[in-house]
């Protein structure tokens, strides 16, 4: 690995100072499970590594006014095990629990998973389904970016070099919002997704779908929402035929490539089948679970 300077700011303010000072020459380190690998392989050669401090708001994990606040340094392991997340955002808990190994989840953070912006980041489809809001702060300013407007391409986001992702805010949607997540990989554990699918649906008392979210990972340059598919569901009472149509629309939204983990053809087929499976589980089989 190349030589670099290391900074350890004490709090938010100092972090913003460092980020402003180093700009493109610096990289923020949280869990480091991506960054250190990228540096070892020479993919990134920052002059300065700035470690995000283990202080608020980076470590926040709480519910306030119908909003769950998750600090950028909250680990995958915390999301997996936190009673709050398990109860209120089970889809995020499940997705976080399928990232890497126990050791990786003890280090890897939600902020890192978002900022790395891998198309295969497992928590990203879950966060898309949950309408997560990203708090991006820099010296003297703060902006909120909805997660579906954050990603530009593999590793590319709207975050500016001097901006720090401080926390993620997720509105709590209540019991009528049913979610499902499926990670398809060769191994049942510790593997990188071939396809990730997350769905979330609201149904009203008559069984009609009020609103829907369908998010896909590993099948486009960024994690995506299948908006046409979502629209098709809205206001409808779900049937097998409808779900089949919706799954085909989700497939249409994806643009998979062939790589070492799977062919475009396979991914294409899996988007259709898994979307259909999850929607069927959520809307037609009330007792089924989304777990593998």
């Amino acid at each position: 690995m190349h030589s670099f300077d290391y900074r350890a700011p004490k709090d938010l303010e100092e972090t913003l100072e460092e980020a402003a000072h180093w700009g493109e020459k610096g990289r923020l380190l949280a869990g480091g499970t991506d960054l250190i690998l990228f540096m070892e392989r020479g993919r990134l050669r920052p002059e300065v590594v700035i470690e995000v401090p283990r202080t608020e708001p980076f470590t926040t994990l709480e519910e306030t006014n119908g909003m769950i606040r998750i600090g950028a340094r909250v680990t995958m392991g915390q999301l997996e095990h936190s009673p709050l997340i398990r109860e209120k955002l089970p889809v995020l808990s499940q997705a976080a629990g399928e990232v890497g190994s126990v050791q990786i989840r003890n280090l890897a953070t939600i902020g890192g998973n978002i900022v790395t912006a891998s198309p295969a980041g497992d928590t990203l489809p879950a966060l898309l389904v949950l309408d997560a809001q990203l708090m991006l702060q820099k010296k003297g300013s703060l902006r909120t970016v909805p997660i579906d407007q954050f990603f530009l391409g593999p590793g590319q986001t709207v975050r500016e070099p001097d901006e720090v992702l401080t926390e993620v805010r997720v509105p709590v949607k209540g019991d009528r919002f049913v979610t499902q997540f499926y990670k398809l990989a060769v191994r049942s554990y510790m593997d990188i997704a071939i396809v990730d699918v997350a769905i979330g649906v609201y149904t009203n008392g008559d069984g009609a779908v009020e609103d829907a979210r369908i998010a896909l990972g590993s099948v486009a340059p960024t994690p995506i929402r299948a908006r046409e598919a979502e629209e098709r569901l809205k206001g409808q009472v779900p049937t097998e035929t409808l779900i089949d149509e919706v799954a085909l629309l989700a497939q249409k939204a994806s643009s998979p490539i062939t790589d070492q983990r799977g062919s475009a053809e396979y991914r294409w087929l899996m988007v259709y089948r898994l979307t259909k499976r999850l929607l069927t589980n959520a809307l037609l089989n009330s007792s089924a679970s989304g777990h593998r």
Binding site: V186, S188, M190, Q260, R261, E265, R273
Partner: protein
């Protein structure tokens, strides 16, 4: 044989405490004063002409000591690898010369004060390549117009008259008359199978340290399966007399056939020779996946003629081994005929050069690939005949000791004929086999003053063989296992030992140790007879003492015997044993698995994994079970997920453990293992070598279980979720859920 005191127990391994506490010393742990670090410049191309190598920028990196290319190597140097156990031989340049022939091939070697400097300099060596078309699939490599891996290669004529290109070796065998056999058959089946190359994926990457003293004597420390082999390879490759090389085998983190040397050891020695400083080379995982000695791939077409009642009349095979730029696979081809009574057999096998790394041995080299085809086809035939696959085996299996009995153990354990399966579940059974290698070995056993024994050996312990040898000595001397100390020597201090490969060590070194212990025991009895005024025949050896049979009060403890020897003209008691290599007997391995397939995603989950292994004699029950389980799992993993993947240009696209997958504990069901004991005529206490057989059958058993679950018979391994899902989608409508 009667009952045993030590054999058959579950005593802990000799190395257990050191490994558990982290005290065991691996090659990468070594740091010598003044040591430099080596890093390789590797080819980014699978096939290219090297036009120019410019090291000028790289030499400017602070800390760089030397950069070696093929150009500044002595003409006398060549990579010469001979490995007796598998009769493998290779001769080629140490570094790429005019051409590179696989992605990751060594082009230059940098030595520097730090690993970081060595890597930085390696990245700055400018190599001017002219890329050439590459071929990684033997089915393509044999065609006219395929890129030629070796410039001087000439096409050979196949049995059907066609020309085969890129052939580096061939083998043709037959017994009986297959044409007649097929003519007499009611049904003739012909199927093609393809097995991708896989890597042994030992946990410790290849590593070596070397030093040269002021008199030119070379010491090499390495992670190896055989330090004697390392010594002879260094001698042959670099022209150094054997007596001027000391080879030290460090603790090994797995080898499975890939650690017979030639990957890093020669290069550490080269650096030490060039710089007169100790040098260390430790592979990264990526380097190991790109440039070690992975298993050969196989294309094989098997033709089998049967009577309607399942009697096999004839089997033939046409095989293309993907040996990369190496060789040594041919001899495994006949494995598909060995277990059965087949009047007519024939095979035509070819080694095909491709632009992939040189092949090496991998646990029962070649057998899993051949038996994937042979045993899967038998299960397809059984299904087609409407016959139970076990009945088909019963009808054709040879009646050698243990064959039927071991098969029936699995039938019983599984409840095979009452087996049940749910939707998308399936069962598979397959037979595997091996006959351990038998190799020359020496051993010395001495008796210490306290009555305990020391064993001097040169074995390299990969699998618990040191423990096995200690148990054999303890049993022979009738002392507890804890009273035996193993002294593992290097090539300067130990009697000759074969490398750990081909399941040879417990059998061969075990025999030498048994003979040495017998020799010592005779000397002890002679001495005791004199002291006790008894005839040797009147004495019994038991419980750390020698006593007169009918007068047990008259006895000498082992400690007293050892101390008496020191005061007597005979001096210290030292037993020695040498073994020249009497042949062993075949062990059968029986594998049954149950799987569940998700027909939509193609994911296969192992539900049960039941295996039975004839070990000849259980030396250590825990170790035997461990071998059976580990082998079964490696084979099942080969069936489901392991594959070295290459792109169109021949570059490996998954040289890391995220994308070259091996199973985690979550992918493995409880393993159910049965050991049977049908002694080898020449094995120590009847023991057979057991490292290899457990990997030979699960590849076929898992593929067959998938066939049973889905009706799709896998012709290509591994059966990844993608292959299975796409095959099911095109071959049959996927059932609605």
């Amino acid at each position: 044989m009667g009952s045993f005191k030590v054999l058959g127990s579950r005593v802990p391994r000799t190395d257990a405490y050191d490994k558990v506490t982290g005290r065991a010393l691996y090659t990468a742990d070594l740091v010598l004063p003044g040591m430099i670090y080596g890093a390789f410049v590797r080819s980014p191309y699978a096939h290219a002409r090297i036009k120019k190598i410019d090291v000028s920028e790289a030499m400017k990196v602070p800390g760089v000591v030397t950069i070696i290319t093929q150009e500044n190597l002595s003409r006398d140097y060549a990579l010469v690898i001979e490995e007796e156990v598998h009769a493998a031989q290779q001769v080629r340049g140490l570094l790429a010369g005019e051409k590179v022939r696989y992605h990751g091939e060594k082009v230059a070697l940098v030595g520097a004060e730090t690993l970081e400097a060595a890597k930085e300099a390696a990245a700055l060596v400018k190599v001017d390549y002219e890329p050439l078309p590459a071929v990684t699939d033997p089915r393509e490599a044999v065609k006219e117009g395929a890129p030629l891996v070796w410039d001087d290669s000439q096409p050979v004529t196949a049995p059907d008259g066609s020309l085969l290109y890129n052939v580096v070796a061939e083998d043709h065998r037959s017994e009986g008359d297959v044409d007649q056999g097929f003519a007499e058959s009611d049904l003739v089946y012909e199927n093609e199978y393809y097995v991708h190359r896989v890597h042994q994926t030992y946990i410790e990457p290849q590593a070596a340290v070397a030093a040269v003293d002021e008199r030119g004597r070379v010491t090499v420390w390495s992670s190896t399966q055989g330090h004697f082999v390392v010594r002879s390879n260094v001698a042959r490759s670099l022209g150094i007399p054997l007596s001027r090389i000391r080879s030290i085998g460090m603790t090994v983190g797995g080898g499975f056939g890939a650690k017979f040397g030639g990957v890093v050891d020669l290069y550490a020695v080269l650096l030490a020779l060039f710089t007169k400083r100790p040098a260390k080379i430790v592979y990264t995982r990526e380097e190991d996946l790109l440039d070690a000695r992975p298993a050969p791939g196989l294309y094989i077409r098997i033709k089998t003629g049967v009577k309607k009642d399942g009697t096999i009349l004839a089997r033939s095979a046409f095989a293309l081994w993907n040996v990369g730029v190496g060789g040594g696979a041919l001899w495994a081809t006949g494995a598909f005929t060995r277990l059965y009574n087949i009047p007519h057999t024939k095979w035509d096998a070819y080694e095909i050069a491709t632009n992939t790394p040189p092949m090496g041995a991998y646990r029962a080299p070649g057998y899993p690939q051949v038996l994937f085809a042979g045993e899967t086809q038998l299960n397809q035939i059984a299904a087609d005949l409407g016959m139970d696959p076990v009945e088909l085996r019963r009808k054709n299996l040879k009646a050698e000791p243990g064959f039927f009995e071991t098969l029936e153990k699995v039938v019983e354990k599984v409840g095979w004929f009452q087996r049940e399966k749910g939707e998308w579940e399936g069962w598979g059974i397959a037979l595997g086999h091996w006959r351990n290698a038998s190799s020359p070995a020496g051993c010395i056993v001495s008796l210490d003053e306290d009555g305990t024994a020391k064993v001097y050996t040169g074995l390299m312990d990969l699998t618990g063989t040191e423990t096995a040898v200690a148990e054999i000595v303890a049993e022979t001397l009738q002392i507890p296992y804890e009273d035996v100390t193993i002294v593992r020597g290097d090539t300067d201090s130990a009697p000759f030992s074969p490398p750990s490969g081909g399941s040879t060590v417990t059998f061969s070194v075990g025999n030498a140790a048994w003979r040495a212990a017998q020799d010592l025991r005779q000397q002890m009895i002679q001495l005791a007879a004199g002291q006790l005024n008894a005839l040797p025949d009147e004495l019994v050896v038991a419980d750390r003492k020698i006593a007169v049979k009918n007068d047990p009060e008259r006895s000498l403890s082992f400690a007293e015997i050892a101390q008496t020897a020191l005061r007597s003209p005979s001096g210290p008691l030292i037993g020695k044993g040498s073994f020249g290599g009497d042949p062993s007997d075949t062990n059968i391995f029986v594998q049954a698995v149950k799987v569940k397939v998700d027909p939509e995603t193609g994911k296969t989950r192992l539900l049960r994994c039941v295996q039975a292994l004839d070990v000849g004699r259980v030396i250590n029950r825990t170790q035997c079970e461990g071998q059976a389980e580990g082998g079964a799992l490696q084979s099942a993993s080969w069936a489901l997920m392991e594959e070295m993947q290459y792109d169109e240009q021949g570059r490996m696209i998954n040289p890391n453990l995220a994308d070259y997958r091996i199973p985690t504990a979550f992918d493995v069901p409880d393993m159910e293992t049965i050991l049977t004991e049908f002694p080898s005529r020449h094995g120590p206490y009847g023991a057979k070598g057991i490292g290899e057989p457990p990997i030979t059958a699960a590849l076929a058993a898992v593929a067959s279980a998938i066939g049973d679950a889905t009706g799709y018979w896998a012709l290509e391994a591994p059966v990844t979720p993608e292959r299975l899902a796409l095959a099911l989608a095109t071959r049959q409508p996927v059932r609605a859920r």
